[in-house]
Symmetry: C2
Subunit: 668 residues, 2 copies
């Protein structure tokens, strides 16, 4: 029977050898955290390596994702399907062992980490999901939802602002089943942290309402066991266990930044092997250590026990069990088609000139009342963004009832928590803020895209139409920023009907996040025939047709579609054949077949004008060198919205001038 | 002689009346903070309304910028040149009283605020600048730099992550002359904060190493005076004065979110007037109150006293005084042309194939040794981003010596602090992180652009060339995101020579921030004639020419220029006339006259290909509908950089294929 230290050392050698082979990676953290990992993963963590999809597993998040080899070593050793070949091919093309962990539900990687602080922030969302789901599905006899969320994090995570935002919320939400182990090694990339990280972390977390344990010696198993036990006992306060560790433990570079982000090198590895008393060659783990780590038998037993409970639950509460299973699968309700038909019909028949943020609230009225998996919220702009419906009730942390979360002024944490809610399963998060504050949330949206998460960001006040609040609150470049981010769908609907379709598409987008860009101000209702209504879901379609080949195509989105329609009328009066294309979602339009794209935007028609009150350059994609863009080339300004639009040239007169300019330039 | 409350009430009525007239704005905070403002501005703040440019004034930052009418009222009442007409035209087109304060040095508005948390974060930078400048210029006899930084902030600021990052640094940096007055009214837009903001703010700030005073009654002048005096006494710990206030003080909507962001309405205003005992009509302030507020005489006296000290200083230390004045004006050194000539000549004669991040460090070696105003730093990536030179010494808070700041893993606060350093004057900040983490800093960069700040962001590892660290660390959309942001110059140099020019342009850009996008991996040195070297500063120029009109133009930036040159060679061998345009800075290129743009990119040549390992769509601006973009359409992947480039098609073969495709399509 190997010692616990020998078990931990298996992580250490795998990490340093794989990093050496790749000639790239971060050995310091895996060497430092190996004992913490042994204490958690071999003795406390509830999981079944044979089935990474087991719903009631504990969630584990490696917030300091650069320690990826720690996780890969654990997945390999405990019996997940990660082979030694994959460990050996760490950081190579096409492997499941990339430089930073990438979400892989089949392998047991809960989320993508690397950008520091976001692991812990999304873990807060996972822990919240667990409590909310337990409140909805557990009964007095059956606890089918009962697991913990464990996080490893380092100094870097604690310095990042998103960690502050999320951990403050975790305290408020009393997430006692969330526990973070802080790898307090006192070293970051630039060296000893004394000159840039002097805060009293324990006091700070107590101020958030956390239980703080330690500092304990992160290499002392008894101390770690005791700390973990103490953490588990407190189910009201989230727990932070401060573990004092030595980065690069046992290596000649221990306690120095030198081992943070570069391979140790042959000599140091040899010296570390000696210090660890490890005699085996690289990528060879002694059988007894492999046996000691293998968690499949006990994992399967744990899952089997849970399955028995769940089966009994299903027998007693077949409807609840079916609903639970549906939500875990992420399927939309069976009557989804009916629900969305009602939502869309309502929007069509209302025929209102309303702000799309209001149209969104109306769509949500229908959706929230029918989809219990929706968890709404806002970053302290509830009334403005219209995310709270009559079917919404605030999260109440006494019982974890409610389906609406007040995130406070924390756009970044809100978004990372949304990611965590979605990753956990059982919920589809949506929440709102102003589009200009997409900036603060940006990297969480990027991670949502990288992780193929279904979540909906309701981003309102989406142009200079914001008016008086001025340039800090008027987005200009944000639409382009989000559209350029791969695998995010950005919908900018032009009226209530497009808004309803956008919501439907957003919720049907099971593997990509959606941003809804919505107006503060009223938009013009557009009449459409049934085919046009169906075409909205293609991302771009002909909203206003003309006879034959158009002389000019106006492409517009959102609140500027009304202007395009008015301008088209004026152009028609001038004897020009003008088509208006509404383009609510460019990524969806781009994914249509070539025939559709050619149908909407015939290659031969080069007299094209894009009209959108956001950064103009992005639209060159559709209008090319010959076209014109009526967009923004600078920041907005503070004044009533209508005045701002006029001053920046969003008028029929200006559209006609630009059109004339194009016709002249092309000799038409 | 009016009472202090009457003086404060002048702010209240101006605020509620101006907001009512605009039918837009945030009355709650000005009404709540008016007494705090009276205590600070009438009794403590060192300023001269007759000269907002007086260097040694205290800095005042309204971090909760939605309370803008508080600031406008103060500027009007104390004697800055803000007229009652301007107050009356609050939030109207073209006025100096926009919805949120916009930096206006001529008017006494130190910075643009609105995005919560960034005011306090930049104030940390201002306070650091004061200490560092004092250390450099004060002598034992003469204190020419000796002022405080005052901040008003609210619950929202404290929830935002950037506040955590910056305030932790302020504690570490022992910025005792920074003092924040916290408007603790317990209300944010969504209502009473009890459900989303429960942390113990006092304990949290003590954990950062701050002095925490209060809570005091924010409407009790004696308590406020005492708190301000106590705060001033402690010159080692930054101070947080917690002021319990009533939002919408004296209005029927006091203590409710209803008064946060909407005009009070006629009836409520009448009731508030009555409660305040205010009988005058809107926009009319009784003469005695105006006299009581007018701070011009005492302000001029304070400035005169300082001027006397400065004159004596200048007599005793003429060189120091001249240098101080130069730095305050923001002029570059007299020998700037010589310095940059050396820097550029070195890069040309070195002729090395080096990573542009290394080229940047070489340029900095020259610049930092000659420009004492440069304050460098990094977000815990010093070695990687190359911002620390042999002339750099770390900030030492015992004496505020040093010119290099270790910001820790805090990209957002780093950027906001850089803004503060620049706003204060006397410094030009530059600092680095990875380009993918521009996300976290984004809104601070936006504010830098809005405020016309000179600062340089050194953003390295600027593409999939990052390699093994994988997609979380490989920027894709970030270049587009930054280029679409108005008034930021993004330079992506292709070799050491372009890097040197980029640095020169960045430092000469006195009214716009610069982002340098730099490679992790080696780039290919390009030979240029003297005219070409001069042309780099035009943002885009012909790097490789062909005879006559080109058959094809390859437009490339940064590390992909080498590929473009190779491909051009191959195209030439195929009998095609190929031009290579290097486009290191698109915004600068766009600002050139039409003749230059036509010279570089003749309209008639439509066979154009842009080559850049970042989001492809952005480049449609230059290649139009007929051209091709060899860029990224998805996220990157973890593998050695060369492998990643090859897998994503950045090869000569692929360029030739795309070129062939274009020639075929256009029948050439």
């Amino acid at each position: 029977m190997p010692t616990r230290r020998q078990c931990a050392n298996a992580i250490r050698v795998l990490a340093m050898d794989a990093i050496e082979k790749a000639q790239s990676g971060h050995p310091g953290a895996p060497l430092g955290m190996a004992d913490m990992a042994e204490a958690l993963w071999r003795h406390v963590l509830k999981h079944n390596p044979a089935n990474p999809h087991w719903f009631d597993r504990d969630r584990f998040v490696l917030s300091n994702g650069h320690a990826s080899m720690l996780l890969y070593a654990l997945l390999h050793l405990t019996g997940y399907g990660l082979t030694m070949d994959e460990v050996r091919n760490f950081r190579q093309w096409g492997t499941r062992t990339p430089g930073h962990p990438e979400r892989n539900p089949d392998l047991g990687i809960e989320m993508t980490t690397g950008p520091l602080g976001q692991g812990i922030a999304s873990a807060v969302g996972m822990a919240l999901a667990e409590r909310m789901l337990a409140a909805r599905f557990n009964t007095s006899e059956y606890s089918i939802v009962d697991h913990r969320t464990w996080v490893f994090l380092g100094d870097g995570c604690l310095m990042e602002g998103v960690c502050h935002e999320a951990c403050s919320l975790a305290g408020t939400w009393r997430l006692g089943k969330l526990n973070a182990l802080y790898d307090a090694n006192g070293i970051s990339i630039d060296g000893k942290v004394d000159n840039w990280f002097t805060e009293d972390v324990a006091a700070r977390f107590r101020a958030y309402g956390w239980q703080v344990i330690g500092p304990v010696d992160g290499h002392d198993y008894a101390a770690l066991d005791a700390a973990l036990a103490e953490a588990k006992k407190d189910t009201i306060h989230p727990g932070l266990i401060i573990c004092r560790t030595h980065i690069g433990f046992a290596s000649p570079q221990a306690d120095s930044a030198a081992c943070h982000g570069a391979p140790l090198g042959k000599e140091n590895i040899a010296a570390t092997r000696k210090a660890l008393g490890w005699c085996d060659p690289p990528f060879t783990i002694p059988e007894d250590i492999l046996v000691a780590w293998d968690a499949r038998v006990q994992g399967q037993a744990a899952e089997d026990a849970w399955q028995n409970v769940f089966d009994a639950y299903a027998a007693a509460y077949p409807d609840k069990a079916a609903e639970f299973s549906r939500r875990m699968r992420g399927d939309l309700p069976e009557d989804w088609a009916d629900i969305t038909k009602v939502m869309l019909d309502d929007a069509v028949s209302a025929g209102e000139n309303i702000a799309t943020r209001v149209a969104s609230r109306k769509a949500l009225e229908c959706l929230v009342s029918h989809l219990p998996e929706l968890v709404g919220g806002a970053a302290d702009l509830t009334g403005s963004v219209g995310t709270c419906t009559s079917a919404s009730t605030p999260l109440d942390v006494a019982a974890y009832t409610g389906n609406y979360v007040y995130y406070g002024v924390r756009e970044f944490a809100m978004s990372a928590v949304m990611n965590g809610l979605a990753l956990h399963g059982g919920f589809i998060p949506y929440a709102g803020t102003f589009l200009s504050f997409a900036d603060q949330a940006k990297n969480a949206l990027r991670l949502a895209a990288l992780m193929h998460i279904r979540a909906v960001w309701v981003m309102t006040h989406d142009s200079i139409g914001v008016g008086e609040d001025g340039p800090t609150h008027q987005p200009v470049e944000q639409l382009g920023m989000l559209r350029l981010t791969p695998d995010i769908h950005v919908w900018r609907p032009c009226d209530g009907v497009e808004t309803a379709v956008a919501w439907r598409c957003a919720l049907e987008s099971a593997t990509a996040p959606t941003v809804l860009s919505l107006s503060r101000q009223k938009t013009v209702f557009c009449a459409r025939n049934p085919q046009q209504i169906r075409d909205i879901a293609r991302g771009g379609y002909i909203l206003h047709a003309c006879e034959g080949t158009p002389d000019i195509i106006l492409i517009a989105t959102g609140s500027e579609v009304g202007l395009a329609l008015e301008a088209a009328k004026a152009l028609t009066q001038q004897g020009r054949k003008a088509r208006v294309v509404s383009m609510p979602c460019t990524s969806v339009f781009d994914a249509q077949d070539a025939a559709w794209r050619e149908h909407v935007l015939p290659s031969a028609v080069r007299v094209r004008m894009a009209i959108e009150a956001s950064a103009a350059d992005w639209w060159r994609k559709y209008v090319g060198l010959d076209g014109e863009v009526l967009g923004m080339v600078g920041f907005g300004a503070s004044a009533p919205g209508k005045v701002v639009f006029e001053k920046f040239g969003f008028t029929v007169t200006h559209v006609l001038e630009l059109a004339e300019h194009m016709f002249n330039k092309l000799g038409l």
